[in-house]
C-alpha cells in the first residue's frame, strides 16, 4: 500500500464497432461478450495495475464510436495522458478513421500524450487469413511516422490486451518524472492530505492566549 499510485487518464477512440469496449472489458474484467450493445456517450472504468514497484491506476474513458457522439470526444482526450486509437484489421475504413484520430490528437490533445495504435480483431485472421484488409506493415509505418505504440490485439482471445496497458504504464511515469505533476492529476500517497495533521495545525493556530 505504500507503493506510489499514479493515475493515468486514458481514452479510447476509434470508429464504431471496432471493439473499444471489448478491449476495456477484457482488460478490466478479463471477460468477453459477443454482440455488445453500442456504447452511449462515454463509459468510465478504472483498473489498478502493478508495474515494477509502483501501482498505476487507469481511469479509462471508453468513448462511443458513433458519429453523433463525436462532439464528446474532445472533452475526454483534452487532458488525457494516454489514448488508444483502435481500428478493425478487417475494415479498411476503420483504419482511415484511425488516421484521422491520430491527426486530431496531435493537433488538439496535450503535447506529451502517449498514443497507442491498436489493430483489433486479429482472431478473425486465424480462421481465414484472407480477411485481413489492413496490412500490418502499413499500420507499423504509420506508428513509426507518428511516434505511436503499435499492437495487434484480440479482445476475444485476450491477445496483447494486457501488454498494451502495461506498455502505456511503463511510458507514462518516465514522462511524469520529467514534467513533474503539472496537471495535479497524479496523486501519490505522499501527497495525500493528512487530515489528522491539519486538524492539529488548526488547533494550534486558533489557540487563544487567554
Amino acid at each position: 500500500m505504500n507503493n506510489p499510485v499514479t493515475s493515468i487518464k486514458l481514452v479510447l477512440l476509434g470508429e464504431a464497432a471496432v471493439g473499444k469496449s471489448s478491449i476495456v472489458l477484457r482488460f478490466v474484467s478479463n471477460d468477453f461478450a459477443e454482440n455488445k450493445e453500442p456504447t452511449i456517450g462515454a463509459a468510465f472504468l478504472t483498473q489498478r495495475v502493478n508495474i515494477d514497484d509502483h501501482t498505476v491506476k487507469f481511469e479509462i474513458w471508453d468513448t462511443a464510436g458513433q458519429e453523433r457522439f463525436a462532439s464528446l470526444a474532445p472533452m475526454y482526450y483534452r487532458n488525457a495522458q494516454a489514448a488508444l486509437v483502435v481500428y478493425d484489421v478487417t475494415k479498411p475504413q476503420s483504419f482511415i478513421k484511425a488516421r484521422h484520430w491520430v491527426k486530431e490528437l496531435h493537433e488538439q490533445a496535450s503535447k506529451d500524450i502517449v498514443i497507442a495504435l491498436i489493430g483489433n480483431k486479429v482472431d478473425i485472421l486465424d480462421d481465414d487469413p484472407n480477411e485481413r484488409k489492413v496490412a500490418k506493415e502499413e499500420a507499423e509505418k504509420l506508428a513509426q511516422e507518428e511516434n505511436l505504440l503499435f499492437f495487434e490485439t484480440s479482445a476475444k482471445t485476450a491477445l496483447n490486451i494486457n501488454e498494451v496497458f502495461l506498455k502505456i504504464g511503463e511510458n507514462i511515469p518516465l514522462k511524469n518524472a520529467n514534467d513533474g505533476n503539472g496537471d495535479g492529476i497524479n496523486v501519490t500517497d505522499n501527497q495525500r492530505v493528512n487530515l489528522a495533521a491539519s486538524a492539529d495545525a488548526t488547533a494550534n493556530a486558533s489557540a487563544c492566549s487567554c
Binding site: 456517450g41 462515454a42 462532439s71
Partner: protein
C-alpha cells in the same frame, strides 16, 4: 320596338338557353337575366314598388335586349354538339335576315390542299370547312370551335349582328379575353344597373329618411341653441313644446289608435311594453332592450356618423363649449339600419388595410416565387450532377439557367427576409394584430428553415463540382466565379440566419445535437456517480464529478450560443 330587335331578342334567348343562369337564392334556372330579374322581384320580394307590370317589362327589355350575353365556359372538345345547334340558328337567321358574313377571304379548295391543322389531305370525306374568321381550310375535325363574329368576320361578342360561327382552334384561342379555363365576361355592371332600377323605391325611401334626419337634427340643434344654452325651467318647457311640434311636423306620426303591436317585433303593447314613435318613419314601436326595436340616440352621435349629409346647423360651437348636448331622439331599428349600415359598410371598405396585412400579402407573393423556383433549381442541379458524372461537357445554357435561377432564389430569400423584418418592426394596433404578427413570424421562420436548408446543401454540392471542374471550362459555375457565387450564398444565408441568434441553420442543428449528447452524457455520469457512491469508490466519484462539471459548463456554453433556438 322594331321587328329586328324582337328577333334579336329571340336569338339571344335561344343562345342563352345553352347556359344556366340560376337564381342565387333558390337555384332555379332561368333562360336569361330578364326572367331572373323578374323572378327575384316577384318570388323573393325584392320588388317593393307597386309599379305597373307592363311598364317594368318595357324598361327592362330596352336595357336587356341584345347586349346581354353570358358567355359560356366553352370547352374545345365539347363544343362540337353546341356548334351544330348554333349553326342551325345561324342558318335560320341568315335566311330571314339576308345578312351574310363576309366570305371573300375564304381559302378556295383546290385538289391536294391539306388541313391547316393536321396537314391531312382534304377531300369531301374528310370534310372541307373554312374557318369563318381566318378563312383557312380545315378538315371536319379541326374546325369545331365556335366563336362570335360580326358580319366583317371579326370577333365581336357584343356586336349587333354578331352570331356564333365555326372557327379553327387558332382563331378560337387567339381571340381577346381567351384563357385556358374558359371565358367569362363580367356582367356585374349591367346587372347592377338593372338592380338599381328596381331598388329605386328603396333609394327614394332612404332619401326621404335622410332628408327628415337632416331637418330633425338641424331643427333640434337650432332649438337647443336658442333655449338650452342658458337654460332655466321655463325655457326648458318651451324647448320641449317646440321640439314636439318640430318632430311631428317633419315626420307625420302614425296614430296610436288601433295599433296594438310593435311594428317590428309584433309584440303586444301593455303597461310594460309602451308605445313609441320613430322620429323618422313615424311607425309605432316598442323600446324593449331585448329586441332593440327602437333606441334613443344622442343627436350628436347621429350627426357624427352621417357627416356626409348636408346639415346646415353648425355644431362646432356646441362641441367646443362645455355644454353637454343631451338631446336624444328615438329611432326604430329599421331606420337606423337604412341610414347607418350602408355608411358603416362604406367606411369599413374605405378603411386602409393594416400595414401588417399589406406586408403579409407581399410575403406570400415572394414565398410563391420561392416554392415555384426551388424544385426547378433542384432538378437542374441534379441534371448537372448526372452530366458531370458522365463526364460529358456540361451544357452552357443549362449552367446559365442554373445560375440565373439561383440568383433569383437568393434575391427572393433576401426580399422575404426584409419583408419579415419590416413586419416585425411594425407595432400592432391591437391584440389580434399582435397575434397575427406572431403567427406570421412563426410561419415565416418555419418557411425559411424548410426552404433554405435544401438551398444550402445545394450550395455545398456546387462547390465540389466547381473545384473538380476542368480549368478549361468556361461556364459561369467554374472555379473562379463558382467560388464567388458560393461566398454570396453563405453571406445571404448568414444574413438570413441573423434571425436565429446569428447562427446558420446548420450550426443550430449541430449545437442542438451536441447539447442533446451532452445532456445524455451528464445523465449517464450522474447515474455512474450514484453507482460509485453505493460501491464506496470515492476516487472515481472525484473524477466523475470533475467530468460532470465540464459537461455542465459545456452545455451552458452551447445553450448560450443557441439562445432562443435551444430546447425549451
Amino acid at each position: 320596338m322594331t321587328s329586328i330587335d324582337n328577333s334579336e331578342t329571340s336569338s339571344v334567348s335561344s343562345v342563352l338557353e345553352l347556359e344556366d343562369i340560376s337564381c342565387p337564392i333558390c337555384l332555379k334556372n332561368f333562360a336569361n337575366l330578364q326572367s331572373l330579374n323578374d323572378h327575384l322581384d316577384t318570388d323573393h320580394g325584392f320588388d317593393d314598388s307597386p309599379r305597373s307590370e307592363s311598364d317594368s317589362v318595357t324598361t327592362i327589355t330596352s336595357i336587356t335586349s341584345p347586349k346581354i350575353h353570358l358567355s359560356p365556359h366553352r370547352n374545345v372538345r365539347s363544343s362540337h354538339s353546341r356548334s351544330n345547334s348554333a349553326d342551325v340558328n345561324n342558318k335560320k337567321q341568315d335566311k330571314t335576315k339576308k345578312l351574310e358574313i363576309k366570305k371573300s377571304h375564304w381559302e378556295k379548295f383546290v385538289k391536294g390542299k391539306t388541313c391547316n391543322y393536321c396537314r391531312r389531305r382534304l377531300s369531301p370525306s374528310t370534310g372541307l370547312i373554312n374557318c369563318n374568321k381566318c378563312g383557312k381550310l380545315f378538315c371536319r375535325r379541326h374546325c369545331t370551335n365556335i366563336i362570335k363574329l360580326n358580319l366583317e368576320a371579326q370577333f365581336d361578342p357584343k356586336g349587333k349582328h354578331s352570331r356564333w360561327y365555326n372557327c379553327c382552334y387558332d382563331c378560337f384561342i387567339s381571340r381577346p379575353g381567351y384563357n385556358e379555363f374558359g371565358e367569362s365576361i363580367d356582367l356585374t355592371v349591367t346587372f347592377t344597373k338593372l338592380r338599381n332600377k328596381k331598388s329605386e323605391d328603396f333609394q327614394l325611401i332612404k332619401l326621404q329618411l335622410e332628408n327628415r334626419l337632416v331637418g330633425l337634427l338641424d331643427g333640434l340643434l337650432a332649438l337647443f341653441k336658442r333655449y338650452r344654452v342658458n337654460g332655466n325651467v321655463i325655457t326648458l318647457i318651451k324647448f320641449n313644446i317646440e321640439r314636439n311640434a318640430l318632430e311631428q311636423r317633419i315626420t307625420p306620426w302614425k296614430s296610436d289608435n288601433g295599433v296594438n303591436n310593435c311594428h317590428i317585433c309584433t309584440r303586444q303593447f301593455n303597461i310594460l311594453i309602451r308605445k313609441h314613435h320613430c322620429r323618422l318613419c313615424g311607425n309605432i314601436i316598442c323600446d324593449s332592450i331585448d329586441t332593440g326595436c327602437s333606441n334613443a340616440v344622442p343627436i350628436i352621435t347621429l350627426r357624427k356618423n352621417a357627416s356626409d349629409l348636408p346639415f346646415h346647423e353648425d355644431v362646432k360651437p356646441l362641441m367646443s363649449s362645455e355644454i353637454d348636448v343631451d338631446v336624444n331622439i328615438r329611432l326604430c331599428s329599421n331606420c337606423l339600419k337604412a341610414i347607418y349600415i350602408p355608411r358603416k359598410f362604406e367606411e369599413d371598405m374605405a378603411m386602409s388595410t393594416s400595414p401588417i396585412m399589406i406586408r403579409y400579402h407581399s410575403l406570400q407573393n415572394v414565398s410563391r416565387v420561392i416554392t415555384y423556383l426551388l424544385p426547378l433549381f433542384q432538378d437542374l442541379l441534379q441534371n448537372e450532377e448526372v452530366e458531370k458524372n458522365n463526364d460529358t461537357v456540361p451544357n452552357a445554357t443549362n449552367l446559365q439557367e442554373l445560375t440565373r435561377i439561383r440568383e433569383r432564389l437568393l434575391k427572393s430569400f433576401g426580399t422575404y427576409n426584409v419583408i419579415t423584418r419590416q413586419l416585425m418592426l411594425l407595432t400592432p394596433e391591437n391584440e389580434s394584430e399582435k397575434r397575427i404578427q406572431n403567427s406570421i413570424q412563426i410561419m415565416s421562420s418555419r418557411f425559411i428553415n424548410g426552404k433554405i436548408l435544401p438551398l444550402k446543401t445545394l450550395g455545398s454540392a456546387l462547390s465540389p463540382s466547381s473545384s473538380s471542374a476542368t480549368s478549361g471550362r468556361s461556364s459561369p459555375l467554374s472555379t473562379p466565379t463558382g467560388k464567388s457565387d458560393g461566398t454570396t450564398t453563405t453571406i445571404e444565408v448568414t444574413r438570413l440566419s441573423d434571425m436565429m441568434n446569428g447562427l446558420t441553420i446548420k450550426q443550430v442543428k449541430q449545437y442542438r445535437e451536441e447539447l442533446m449528447v451532452l445532456k445524455e452524457q451528464s445523465y449517464l455520469i450522474h447515474s455512474m456517480i450514484t453507482e460509485s457512491k453505493k460501491q464506496r469508490k470515492f476516487d472515481e466519484i472525484k473524477t466523475l464529478t470533475r467530468n460532470l462539471d465540464e459537461l455542465t459548463k459545456r452545455s451552458q456554453e452551447v445553450e448560450q450560443l443557441l439562445g432562443d433556438q435551444g430546447f425549451k
